[in-house]
């Protein structure tokens, strides 16, 4: 049985305006993601310049 149902409107009303604390390491999580983006960017650059090296 589904007892606790919330419409999208109700959930939006409960949305806080400030950032609240969480009980996992969100700072580390965001850092990991930033790191992956940097690695992907570097790989893309290598790929874009690959033509020179292959010649």
């Amino acid at each position: 049985m589904i007892e606790n149902r919330y419409s999208i409107e109700e959930l939006l009303q409960l949305k806080p305006s400030e950032i609240q604390p969480v009980d996992f390491d969100a700072v580390e999580f965001r850092a990991i993601i930033e790191k992956i983006k940097q690695v992907q960017l570097l790989k893309d650059e290598e790929f874009a310049h690959g033509g020179h090296f292959n010649r």
Partner: protein
């Protein structure tokens, strides 16, 4: 005094079940296997915890390519091999091109799933997935069965959540076809 400490009595809005956020990290080198890449991030059981988490993590457009967010009920793993998923499938939709209010659609999908406004009276929905791919964002609603009758109702509601019109088709893929090279949807809506 205890009475003046309002935080002690702060009411939290319970969700119907526990949910877990999982993240699939893109492979940066070939030695990484799928099990290295898919990890649970955190779990939540109240509306308040849900908001705290989703205000603290990157939004879809800030995720690297080949990332997935998965939000699954209880301890269901976001894999079709999980017992809870094995007889089910997914309603799937792709948003092509840049942004196209992907963030809003992802938040609406999450709210509809954890608020249980897509499920009628049985737990048909196991979870929801967002996949970031080149030029496209894929939304998928994972169901526990491939019974057509509840699926039509769920699909119709999911279309409303994603604000789709008649030209935008939602497709259902049973997980049993996940190994096919070119899986065909068993239902389109």
């Amino acid at each position: 005094t205890i009475l003046s400490d309002s935080t002690q009595f702060e009411y939290k809005h319970p969700l119907n079940t526990k949910w877990t956020l999982w993240y699939t990290k893109p492979a940066v080198d070939k030695s990484e296997s799928w099990s290295d890449l898919l990890r649970p991030v955190t779990s939540f059981e109240t509306v308040e915890e849900f908001w705290a988490i989703f205000k603290n993590i990157p939004t879809p457009i800030d995720l690297p390519l080949k990332s997935d967010y998965h939000v699954f009920r209880n301890d269901i793993r976001p894999e079709w091999e999980d017992e809870a998923n094995s007889k089910g499938g997914k309603w799937s939709f792709q948003v092509r091109g840049k942004n196209n209010n992907v963030e809003e659609l992802w938040m609406r999908s999450l709210m509809a799933v954890i608020g249980e406004t897509i499920d009628e009276d049985e737990y048909q929905i196991n979870g929801v997935v967002l996949s970031v791919r080149k030029g496209t964002y894929k939304f998928a609603l994972w169901t526990k069965s491939e019974d057509r009758e509840p699926l039509f109702e769920i699909g119709k509601k999911f279309k409303q959540v994603l604000k789709l019109n008649d030209e935008n088709q939602l497709e259902f893929f049973p997980h049993s076809s996940a190994n096919n090279k070119h899986p065909q949807p068993s239902i389109t809506l």
